[in-house]
Symmetry: C2
Subunit: 413 residues, 2 copies
């Protein structure tokens, strides 16, 4: 059986994601689509809208056959490390190719970009260093250095690495190259926010950010129903009925503020991504700001992107220290969140050929990165619980991988 990998967050899963999974399958002629998905905290440094099991159900109902959890350590990292973690998992599970959505939509410019930077490593790295020294953010510095290299070769068509999905795609490909994987890279043009295409089974596409925004401002799914599959809609309604709260920083702010006040600058300094000096700013902002928005307004600066700051805050919330991170250089397990019948057949066939241990039950495996995933999951559940309703702690120990097959979920629609 032929497997193609994708890297997802599904926050929440919408029509654009269904399209991506379909296109990935078609473009690579795959038997199964394997998704590596972030857990309850995401790459932009924020809690997920609904938890990882609910998002796994969305995935299995929408064209994905197997969902693995991208460990917290990689899921909440910058683009290069996020990409490295995801690619190592897809490679370990035996994907022949992987497919990412990009603004560009063609693979050649990415290959050209990779080669170009490879050939000018020294020049590139010193340009990055100079740009960082000017006080701009790291992603902007990367892009500036890239443009300097690019200017020397105007004849080569390269990817525009100022676009967020192009950046991730570039780093997936760089990771494939750096680990020496034989996976083939495929890209499809991303159907993004505001892009409506009536040829896609008359379905409309909006970004996940837009969907969350609409939901938080209207408190109903009415305005977004056309943009999400039936299964997503049903799962969000079920979640709402049970939890009465969705994940965002507003909801988590009381806990974040508590831990900042409790730990103070000296202990905040030990937390991953907290760079020298900003711990004082964070502490002072927590002392005087009641809402997450006003807190962020006080913390943000030219030096750090909003995302970078949110990642620090995620690590503060979960207690993820620099020391802990230093012990998690590479992914060390394949944590199975769910699969369809097809996914199960694929895994049965490859059981003996997996590059990393397969984990269906967390209790049977001891690993610091897995412990962190479980802890992050508990903190998510606790902070999202209202009052004394904390019945969702320890779900990682009691939740079996979700089994669902395309047929039943399609018949549900």
């Amino acid at each position: 059986m032929k497997a193609t990998g994708i890297v997802v967050e599904y926050n929440p899963l919408h029509n654009g994601h269904v399209y991506h999974a379909q296109q990935a399958r078609n473009a690579t002629n795959a038997d199964v689509i394997i998704a590596v998905m972030s857990g309850n905290f995401l790459q932009r440094g924020e809690p997920s809208f609904v938890d990882k099991w609910t998002r796994t159900k969305m995935a299995l109902a929408s064209g994905v056959d197997i969902v693995f959890e991208l460990p917290y350590r990689f899921a909440t990292s910058n683009a290069p490390l996020f990409a490295q973690g995801a690619v190592e998992l897809l490679d370990a599970v035996g994907c022949e190719s992987f497919c990412f959505g990009s603004e560009d939509g063609n693979i050649e410019p990415f290959q050209n970009s990779l080669r170009l930077i490879d050939r000018h490593t020294v020049q590139y790295e010193s340009a990055v260093k100079n740009a960082v020294a000017e006080g701009i953010s790291y992603p902007m510095a990367l892009n500036k250095a890239y443009k300097i290299i690019q200017a020397g070769h105007p004849e080569i068509p390269v990817a525009d690495l100022s676009m967020p999905n192009n950046i991730l795609g570039f780093h997936y490909m760089a990771a494939v190259q750096s680990i020496g994987s034989s996976m083939e890279a495929v890209t499809i043009k991303r159907m993004g926010a505001g892009y409506h295409d009536d040829t896609l089974d008359s379905q409309k596409i909006a970004s996940a950010t837009g969907i969350r925004k609409s939901f938080f401002s209207t408190e109903t799914l009415d305005e977004v129903s056309d943009f999400i599959p039936q299964a997503t809609r049903r799962l969000l309604i079920e979640w709402d009925a049970e939890r009465k709260a969705f994940g965002n920083w507003d909801t988590f702010y009381p806990y974040l503020r508590y831990i900042i006040l409790r730990d103070g600058p000296s202990r905040l300094r030990s937390i991953a991504d907290v760079s020298e000096g900003i711990e004082n700013l964070i502490f002072r902002a927590a002392q005087s700001h009641d809402s997450f928005q006003s807190f962020m307004d006080a913390v943000k600066s030219k030096r750090y992107t909003w995302t970078r700051i949110q990642r620090m805050l995620t690590h503060i919330l979960t207690g993820f220290t620099k020391e802990m991170r230093s012990k998690m250089e590479k992914p060390s397990y394949l944590r199975l969140l769910g699969m369809t019948n097809e996914g199960r057949s694929y895994l049965s066939g490859r059981k003996k050929n997996l590059g990393l241990p397969l984990i269906s039950k967390v209790a049977s495996f001891s690993d610091p990165a897995l412990k962190m995933d479980i802890s992050a999951s508990d903190i998510y559940a606790l902070a999202l619980g209202k009052g004394s309703d904390h019945s969702k702690i320890g779900l990682d120990y009691v939740t079996s991988p979700i089994m669902e097959n395309h047929f039943s979920s399609k018949s549900f629609k």
Copy 2:
């Protein structure tokens, strides 16, 4: 002017406390009564019912002239250190005597007990050691050792050190002796729980514990109104109207549980009072228990008293580590919470003769123990705030010492 010191928690202040302040004044012929009062976390290892400023107002309306805050480091310590901190403050502010309530009610038996233990230090300490090795709690071990010494001298009348107020009284006197203070010790018989004395201005006396229990079970002050002064009643009603929550562990448990899950056993081990091994028990109990009561049922053991465990939990909640504590051996300031006109006259007269710096504004003084008091205050306010109402952070910086005089508060009654 002649000052007499008392050590209080006022959680909340009731008729028995008014009686104590009156008797202290009469017995010592004092011009002013100076109270050293715990902040928002108390000696039994629990958050106070209402905050320190509200309790200061209760004090100033009920016969106390000056209230100093007993620093967190001492307020949440075992009896010997609690006593040491309190006595050093009273001595530093120039009290000629101090008066404690006790079950015994006579000072001679306490003096005898002190002398007895002094004369048999080696025997006493080895008996404590043996008793602890048997696996009983430390306070029980102290009492057992004391009884062994006592048995050798049946002719000497000594204090019964199995009674909670006698124990504290004994430690106040031991502290006075150990710091070489000239303060005279006075004790009055404590009017405790269930003890009704109609000769006391027809006022009834119930314990603070009983008052809180009645309040938490009935959610009104109806049943306790006869047992508290008018000022206490008014202040509790005002607090309720503004905060809609009173301090107890049930209210604080979501935050406690969060920090236990976040920090895990390895980091819990660095917290003050967390003794080897119990961090694992605490972590597992937090994973599986939804309420503070069931959590405590899972953690408690023969080895540790309930109070000892609650103190660990207080330090976990506030992030007070063994290392932080090791830098706070002695009180280093007199933090003024409030005073009457008489109290102000007294302090004006002694300004130049205080044994420790007097702090009216926390911003003007930098000290790790004071920083801890402020942090504990903020955590108390934050955890007690409902939802996003955290407007009470930083009160230490903006609240001036409370000024009230006996006349105005009496006229209010």
